[in-house]
Point group: D2
Chain length 296, copies 4
């Protein structure tokens, strides 16, 4: 199959390499052209615009930073929409807002084009190892076409429902669960440390028995060790997702006190110096600081 991939950051590159390695013909585009070179070396064709990449493809994947970037590569001049073939599908893997996904689907539909939202769970290392979990939503025929492709790049790819935004909602809900867990682990470790119990021991005891989900173990260990860099899931990206979740809640009329609480913790973490080089685990800086504990 002819594929296109637009947006070659850490996540996008990893997925694109895997698609190429699986034997697909791949046309790639990235705003900063240099990032496309390793893929060219591996056999991909480098396009000069999203439209050009799209023209050649049965399926066009996008993995860009945010709503604004997605709109630019899709509906900007020489964007994907300008090149997308009537039978092709645009698959957006970025974590975007529910309203943005709805708008994207609407615009593609009004142009007679196919659109699927397929956000992923997993850090770049998981992407490289084909360990992503993908949530896909869109028209059934489109899902039948792309789910096999998504299963090549992830350990699971599931159909969420017929409306693309539904996959984005599930992704945002998942990240709300994740951030809630991280905040709670931060408070737990602050409590342990201040009372003189080893946070690492507490985390080990709890994640070794009851709280066995991988993110408990990964974030618990990182927070207990105060290992806030390098960024696996960069803190500002997680902050963005909570912002999108709150916006979705606002639109739907659903109060989300947990998301509101962590929204403020993110702001405090940022003000304390946590930036794009810091992992989501650095959210714990706030709990530690409020307990009067040094962060190192």
């Amino acid at each position: 199959m002819q594929l296109a991939f637009v947006g070659l950051g850490a996540m996008g590159s990893a997925i694109a390499h895997n698609l190429l390695a699986s034997g697909h013909a791949l046309h790639v585009f990235n705003r900063h052209a240099a990032k496309a070179e390793p893929l060219r070396a591996a056999g991909a064709t480098v396009a000069t615009s999203p439209a050009e990449a799209a023209r050649a493809a049965d399926v066009v994947f996008t993995m860009v930073a945010d709503d604004a970037a997605l709109k630019a590569v899709t509906f900007g001049e020489q964007g994907i929409a300008a090149g997308l073939r009537p039978d092709a599908v645009h698959v957006c893997m970025s974590t975007i807002g529910v309203a943005a996904a709805r708008e994207l689907a609407r615009q593609h539909a009004s142009a007679g084009q196919h659109y699927v939202s397929a956000p992923v769970f997993g850090r770049p290392d998981a992407a490289a190892a084909r360990k992503l979990h993908v949530m896909a939503a869109g028209a059934d025929a489109d899902l039948q076409k792309i789910l096999p492709l998504l299963r090549e790049v992830g350990q699971s790819a599931n159909a969420v429902g017929p409306d693309p935004w539904q996959a984005n909602l599930v992704k945002l809900i998942g990240n709300m669960l994740l951030v809630s867990m991280v905040e709670t682990l931060g408070e737990a470790c602050a409590m342990a440390e201040k009372t003189g119990v080893s946070p690492a021991k507490v985390v080990e005891l709890l994640t070794g028995t009851l709280f066995t989900a991988p993110p408990y173990q990964a974030y618990g260990a990182a927070i207990a060790a105060k290992r806030f860099q390098p960024a696996g899931f960069a803190l500002p990206l997680a902050q963005k997702d909570i912002r999108l979740m709150l916006a979705a809640g606002e639109e739907a009329g659903v109060a989300l006190p947990i998301a509101s609480l962590v929204r403020d913790r993110f702001l405090a973490a940022r003000a304390a110096g946590a930036d794009a080089n810091h992992d989501l685990a650095a959210l714990a800086l706030v709990a530690l600081s409020e307990a009067g504990l040094k962060d190192r």
Copy 2:
């Protein structure tokens, strides 16, 4: 070994039966004597007071409802302390507060007696199936003596540290993680339902991939199905544990915003009718109600 067991509610009875089935001689006591009869039928000796049960035993287990009940059976007239042999160990399996555990240890120590805190994770059905996770803390020699016994009644029994209250802290932290998870799942399901996405589907997708810890699956499924009864982990008991955690945080000088948030959600759930017949999952009633959703 000669064992005693004081407090034969759902949890205590299940553990006591397992100890008996493992071949230990068992002396039991319960305030309401009727609850001791099934154990008598199974071969246990029924004592007329905690002191009498203790007098016969190398290890005395207690599993009672709260701090007040524990004080009564331990230091009340004809309490455990009045019968405990100098070489015996009192093992408290109840979820009690950090301050109460410290006070209990202090009083036993001043009487030259041995005390270990060994709270457990798991519902009565897990206790019956020897699937509990036990956290034990106390003097090393005491732990060496009782950990093998605890492993007979649980799937794991871990040493936390030399001070009994440390095990209670780990238990409270664990329950804070649990309640935080349940609250977040409640908000997630409210969001899904109000936007027209199946909460059961969202829970299945998330707990089948990333959030695989058993409590995510159990509470997620219950909340999605609005199955709030019968009580596995009764809501008022979970509420009590958050109260104890907040008290521990207050004593230690650690702010616990997540615990504070759920504290209020428990009060709102209680005011909405959730009582001892409701499971912790019923905490989600508040998120559903705030979203304007009917609870059934």
Copy 3:
């Protein structure tokens, strides 16, 4: 002086009538023309577009519902900017966001036009009685020109600073103080009622002694009496202001836990049925409901 007034809702009409009664020539415009008729009857000239109203005026006031409406009447086709004379000043009295105010000032400046933000505190009845408090920010020369006019329609008009958005920030901060007070009064009245003490008595005792600011008295009495209609300050408008405050905090990197908390309470109040016919006092519905109290 020749004045123009665009936006003739309850607030705008009241202010416009007062300007007219003070002897100024007044050109008015409202999207729904019928609302301009009482002013025409009182002597105002009704324009067919914001541009036409602006062309005639030394000062153009706007009082519209939100950021979107303001952009439309200002920079839309036949908007104010298309008619504003180089020496005239656009005075925006609406409660708009900090970013929107900054953008509005930027656009007017790039067109060589004068812009002042002058949001007001007070309900329509206060506007009618010339009891508003006005906060104005902008270039000093512009403020010198308009402050006397603003003092004609309010009991106070103060200069905040040289940048228009500063007045909007002060307005948003004021409304955050107000909403925080209302939420706290709601919790206070829930507590009083549930313990069997008269909320009206508690409010009377506290606002008669220590908490003597007029909003304490007005909102306290309304909440104690569960008098949530008619809308003085309509609940959805107050909700909008908290949303704008949170956006300003997000942009500035300032955590605002109080604003976050009430954000969720607004959503819950809306889901419980509070709409544009309800006063901000109806925020107390949430505290009452969470305490298990009927709202009537």
Copy 4:
């Protein structure tokens, strides 16, 4: 009238001096005897125990630090209850918990003694200036007897109701309103400072117009100036009152999200170094710190 006064800290001494100056015979007692000397010099009789002070009096006032101190001076050995005459009234002016007040009333009643709760609003300087606001609750006959006395030491003294704890509830509610205001002012000033607007100017504009209650002005000015010492209303005492309010809410089954939020802010302020030498205004340290602002 013969009066007794037990508890001669800053508040108690100021009130006692005023009672003496009003011409009453006064018997005083303080645990640390030195604090009684200025009153002896002014004409008071210094007793050697609360019981001795009580024996001489028609009305016995107490103003001590907390629930524990109150129990000690009242029901301890040689406590007030041991000396209180059958027709005399014990008037407790301390801010104590609702449950403690109920228990105190119960014990006095069971001894056939009269008890009134009469907590006060105001700092020591207000006490000295007879500017306190007093809330009194108890049997009507007792209130008739003591309200005139209370009016001698305050600018207002109001009857709350027939049950003493009701006055304590009103006091706690009042302090919840106060602390909520202070927290919100802290966030407001953080927002102003970080965006480059003068917090002092913002406070002046808002408290000069709409938020005119004296505490807005006093705390607003202190926070804007980052003047956190000396302690007028010491931060740990305000923290204690929020703790008592939360306990009352817990007992009554009323969620109090505002109180829960500030509970955590107090803990964070304490961990950041705010102690008994700091004023309640120092709560703003947390909002400033979370915004990345230096506190000086």
